[in-house]
């Protein structure tokens, strides 16, 4: 209820449906959803956006956004998005993918989409593990980090090194906007939102493939309380996954939003 003498500083975005999410308490998937909804609202894209959910905790993303949505097989969201965007080139198409989905099983599809300069946007949630299946090692799991499939901590000798996805994709000519942001505190959340905005602006302008990697928490599988999980992002993930712009199309770089 807003009174005459007040302004609204924040209200729930219109493109979020009324349904409460199924995410664990404090999981920053929820923040990422909110930011996407805010950007879609601000850009007025509700009627023209089609989302592509992936397989992971965010598999039900389609329940929470009030626009058309489809759900892709594990890792194949960029291919589905390509199929949609190519026949509806004036629509806004984005995928929402986890790190297992995008950087493990779906690496082929995401590189190909970036290589093709597919004019889609990817919201990439890096929470350093496979949340949905109960916390197995992901390509993004940090060295030494314990998961249910690296019970003694990820041993880089036998289990390999974390993949820095944004850096990898930024090598692609077809990429218009590739950045990494984090969801661990208000300042970074604001920066994340701006990045999401710019990613969609990239698509609106037809400047190629755009991706925002978001460092995100998984309190449940990390076995931490939500506040500690955010601190863990800051202290452990950011040193390995630096917050940075890896590729920004000059048109976007010169934009004032």
């Amino acid at each position: 209820m807003v009174t005459d003498t007040e302004i609204t500083v924040y209200h729930r975005p219109a493109t979020l449906t009324d349904l409460g999410t199924h995410y664990c308490p404090g999981c920053t998937h929820g923040i990422a959803h909110r930011l996407v909804a805010e950007v879609i609202d601000e850009m007025g894209l509700r009627e023209t956006t089609i989302g592509v959910a992936s397989v992971g905790c965010s598999v039900f993303a389609y329940n929470y956004f009030d626009f058309d949505f489809v759900q892709a097989p594990h890792g194949r969201a960029p291919a589905m998005a390509t199929g949609i965007k190519r026949v509806l080139s004036d629509r806004i198409v984005f995928t929402y993918q986890g790190d297992g989905d995008l950087a493990s099983i779906g690496m082929g599809e995401i590189v190909a989409a970036a290589g093709r300069g597919e004019n889609i946007t990817v919201i990439f949630i890096n929470n350093a593990n496979y949340g949905m299946t109960g916390g197995q090692m992901a390509p993004t799991t940090l060295p030494g980090m314990k998961t249910t499939s690296s019970p003694n901590g990820r041993d880089v000798e036998s289990q390999g090194y974390p993949i820095r996805t944004a850096e990898l994709l930024a090598t692609q000519e077809g990429a218009g906007y590739i950045v990494r942001r984090s969801l661990h505190d208000p300042k970074n959340i604001r920066l994340a939102k701006k990045a999401i905005r710019l990613a969609f602006e990239t698509q609106v302008r037809g400047l190629g493939f755009s991706l925002v990697e978001l460092l995100s928490s998984c309190p449940t599988n990390w076995g931490m309380d939500p506040v500690d999980a955010l601190r863990w992002i800051e202290q452990n993930m950011i040193p390995y996954f630096p917050i940075n712009d890896f590729k920004v199309h000059p048109v976007i770089a010169s934009l004032r939003i």
Partner: protein
């Protein structure tokens, strides 16, 4: 109304274009590649969508995405590439979307070879990814049929919200025959009420194959199965040759069916009352027709370019009421009419051992010769 001399792969591609194909996604693989190559030129020319995907996995999921928007969409591949599409096909089936897929089969298993074969029968007709669903499977035996069935495929796909697979072997892809292409259909302008094309002035729509609650999943499966019952009722297609007075029946699809036709003619010329049933739809299978023939004939010979895959379906229809024989050439070999004639003789003269499974008997004979 003019016939042209057309190559199978090209004929199918152009037939799809004329049937209103709006988007094609594929990946090169012999002996299907010409189809993709043709469309790489033809589709952009017409302002339609062509994408060479990064893989067959990419292709089938691009098809999946495009199908969500309600456009006429197609992919094509050959045996190993088709295997890679199994997960995607299962999702498409679970989401109840219309999709057309062309499978130009080659020799296998594994990498195998690029010669004509019918090795995919099982995976297309029976297997085809996890789950309870059936694609419609059309099996042309000549170029005109390949054209007509490609056009039909799009209509059936939309009518039943189903996957429709046109299944042919590499020789049909490479062969030329005179055939008539259909007129160019206008592209669709209105879209089905389920299409996700952006929620402009309407409620949002969703396409998903998740039904976390098994009760919902079961309902979905039953709904899909009900639709399949409709297909079984309405869409069985086959061709019969000399069946009116046939004492013996040969059954074969696609190229094997054509080869059998030559052998059947030769047998007729010798005075043998032999007929041919050539299934045109492999799914739905002409089960009633075969059952009826089993009742009225003294023997049935199944001819395939594999080790006996449709054979099992025929035997299930025959139910032991008449002896079933088998002749197959797996691995990329097209059987010759003379070989089939020998098998017809074996059947009519009852010279073969008759107890045991026809596949076992055939294998015994084959291994002698290799």
């Amino acid at each position: 109304m003019v016939k042209e001399l057309l190559k199978g792969n090209i004929a199918i591609a152009e037939a799809a274009v004329r049937a209103g194909l709006q988007a094609y996604f594929g990946y090169p693989i012999t002996p299907q590649t010409e189809l993709l190559e043709y469309l790489s030129k033809r589709m952009p020319e017409l302002g339609r969508t062509f994408v060479q995907a990064e893989s067959e996995l990419g292709a089938i999921n691009m098809v999946y995405g495009a199908a969500c928007t309600g456009v006429r969409v197609m992919s094509s591949s050959s045996s190993p590439g088709i295997s890679l599409m199994m997960e995607g096909l299962s999702y498409i089936a679970g989401t109840e979307l219309p999709v057309v897929l062309i499978d130009v089969m080659r020799g296998g298993p594994g990498l195998g070879n690029i010669a004509p074969s019918q090795q995919d029968y099982n995976q297309i007709v029976h297997g085809g990814g996890h789950g309870d669903y059936y694609p419609i499977v059309l099996a042309p035996a000549n170029i005109q049929e390949a054209i007509d069935l490609t056009v039909l495929a799009f209509d059936l796909a939309e009518k039943y919200r189903s996957i429709v697979i046109v299944l042919l072997d590499g020789s049909l892809g490479q062969m030329m025959e005179p055939a008539e292409l259909p007129p160019m259909q206008p592209l669709r302008e209105s879209y089905p009420e389920w299409a996700t094309r952006g929620a402009i002035g309407r409620e949002r729509r969703i396409h998903t194959s998740i039904y976390l609650n098994p009760v919902e999943q079961e309902k979905t499966n039953l709904r899909i199965l009900q639709r399949w019952q409709e297909v079984k009722k309405n869409e069985v297609r086959y061709k019969s040759y000399f069946l009116e007075d046939a004492e013996y029946v040969v059954i074969g699809f696609g190229t094997a069916g054509r080869v059998a036709l030559s052998a059947v003619r030769a047998a007729r010329a010798e005075g043998n009352k032999v007929g041919l049933l050539r299934p045109v739809t492999l799914a739905p299978f002409p089960a009633q027709q075969i059952e009826a023939l089993a009742g009225s004939s003294k023997g049935i010979l199944v001819v395939e370019m594999n080790s006996g895959q449709m054979l099992d379906d025929v035997m299930a229809c025959v139910k032991g009421r008449t002896p079933v024989h088998f002749y197959g050439r797996p691995g990329g070999i097209v059987p010759l009419p003379d070989e089939v004639l020998v098998e017809i003789h074996r059947m009519t003269e009852k010279s073969g051992r008759l107890n045991g499974h026809p596949r076992d008997q055939w294998l015994e004979r084959m291994v002698q010769h290799i």
